[in-house]
Amino acid sequence: MGLSVEYVAKETATNLWRNRLMALAAILTVAVSLSLVGTALLLRQAVNRQIGAVASNVNLQIFVNPGAPKSQLAYIRQEIKATPQIESCNYLNSTESYNQAKQLLKGQKTVLSVLSPGTVPTDFRCQLHNPNQAATVGALFSAGIPGVYKVTWPGQSIHVMEQVTSVLQLILLIVAIALLVSSLVLILNAIRMAIFSRRREVSVMKLVGATNWFIRIPFMAEGLVQGFLGSLVAVGIVMLSNWGLSYLSDRVQALSQATVPSGDLLVTEILVVLVGLIVGVVGSSVAVRKFLDV
């Protein structure tokens, strides 16, 4: 008694094959929209990591001229102590700075070849009580303290990066949502066609006493399969996006931390598949409710 997996599989496969063009359109739209959703999610995580890497430990970086005399260093230290907004600072000497530069510029052999411990600026990495005061403190130190090469605080660059990516994300998200809605409509329509092409079967099923769920489930499974296949394509495309991102982050210094760890990538892919299944189920449920009069 009841619905066998074999029956549903057979019915679903037959339905999909009969309406294969409609099904293909629905699957491709799901794929495109979910690729955008997945890529937007990846981008967001990558940017957050990049920003986090820059912003979390260091609020202010005071670079000291390479080979600056000890007296200048001591003076800078004194000034730092005298500044109440600064919580603490960590000084990287020339060897440490050089090592860090080597890591950051990994792969860029020509740049590395001209660097040596003596040519890399050393720096103080400071944490502020309130990171928003970076600009004020930064101005204090860049104004004529001897030996200071330059002062940077991630505030400006992060702000620009955040703005650009949030606009980008918003656009991606809007397009993705529009596409998700249209893929929902396409799935709905594909199921409507399937119901229409099987109206004789459905009327006989009602007549001989098939239960409502028995009649509905093959159609809903069809929508589910369309959503699932679309999301599988999207999973592949999101993987490609991730590959592109790590390619960029290997080569562009400003994006050196803009990668997504494989655990987070997996979560993103699972999310993509889930959204695909939901779109399939919702689209086909609406179609079944509206067009299958049981």
Partner: protein
């Protein structure tokens, strides 16, 4: 088996399709529902199937008020009601056997049960040899036999037929009628809406006549049209000569108790569908229930 209790049905924006119908059909009866086009015959059958709901009154099938049946139980009601139509309603892309099997598949019967029951019922309707034909390779009469096989394969309590001979020539119709009669003899109640004067007159079964939604006649062993004799005696046997083809089918009580029941050989129903008479009451209902383990 079927009871209408002061049933009125009004479609939206029309005059009543059925007006204050009260009647009862016993288990095992063979009943003709006659009346001109638009008199409400199809509506009567749809009410029994719960395809429509009465606006007033109650309808009982096997003792259950089907008006208060919740929607999810309606399929279980329909499993006890077989249905045949004028236009056969076969699935053109399935073979004869697949068409019949479909009715069992979609109510979740196991494959082995389906295989044996389909073979049995196709033998019963005389199409065992044509199981793998497509419907469009069959004559109209054969297609209607397939439809009857599909309606009967699940051994319903009641077989409803809406003008089943409406598309068939008289000779073919007679074949269909003797098939319905055989099915009736297995204990299945048969309710058939028809226009066919010849069939009604020759079968001499209970006739219920509707006229613009009103019950105008309910007569045991009736004929299609009213005669003077009918007016004087609604239950007596009329003096109209019987057509030879159906004369033998007349006395159903004799046939029921007859020991040489051909159907038992054709269709081994004896253990699960006892051939019953009115006195046995609901034995078949309960045995069917027990066997299926389902109720509606």
């Amino acid at each position: 088996m079927i009871r209408f209790d002061d049933v009125t049905k009004v479609y939206k924006g029309g005059s009543p399709a059925l007006k204050n119908i009260t009647l009862e059909i016993q288990k095992g009866e063979f009943v003709f529902l006659v009346g001109s086009s638009g008199s409400g015959k199809t509506t009567f059958l749809k009410l029994i199937l719960r395809e429509e709901k009465p606006d007033q009154g109650a309808i009982y099938v096997a003792g259950r008020d089907i008006g208060v049946l919740s929607a999810w139980k309606v399929p279980h009601l329909r499993r006890n009601l077989g249905c045949v139509f004028q236009d056969f309603r076969l699935l053109p892309n399935k073979t004869v056997a697949e068409n019949v099997a479909f009715a069992l598949e979609v109510i979740g019967r196991p494959r082995q049960v389906i295989t044996t029951q389909v073979a049995q019922v196709l033998d019963l309707v005389g199409l065992g040899q044509k199981a793998s034909r497509m419907p469009d390779e069959l004559s109209g009469g054969e297609q209607q036999r397939v439809a009857i096989a599909r309606a009967f394969v699940n051994r319903p309590l009641v077989l409803l037929a809406d003008e089943p001979t409406g598309n068939l020539d008289p000779a073919t119709s007679q074949g269909i009628m003797s098939l319905l009669d055989r099915i009736n003899r297995t204990g299945t109640t048969v309710l058939m809406a028809t226009h066919d004067v010849g069939i009604v007159d020759s079968m001499r079964r209970r006739v219920i006549e509707l006229d613009r939604g009103t019950l105008v006649r309910d007569q045991a062993r009736g004929v299609y049209g009213l005669t003077d004799e009918m007016h004087s005696s609604t239950s007596g046997l009329p003096a109209v000569p019987l057509s030879p083809a159906f004369a033998e089918l007349l006395d159903k009580d004799n046939r029921r108790s007859g020991k040489a029941d051909l159907d038992k050989q054709k269709l081994p129903l004896s253990d699960d569908v006892p051939v019953s008479d009115a006195g046995k009451g609901n034995s078949r209902v309960s045995s069917v229930r027990a066997r299926r383990g389902s109720r509606y």
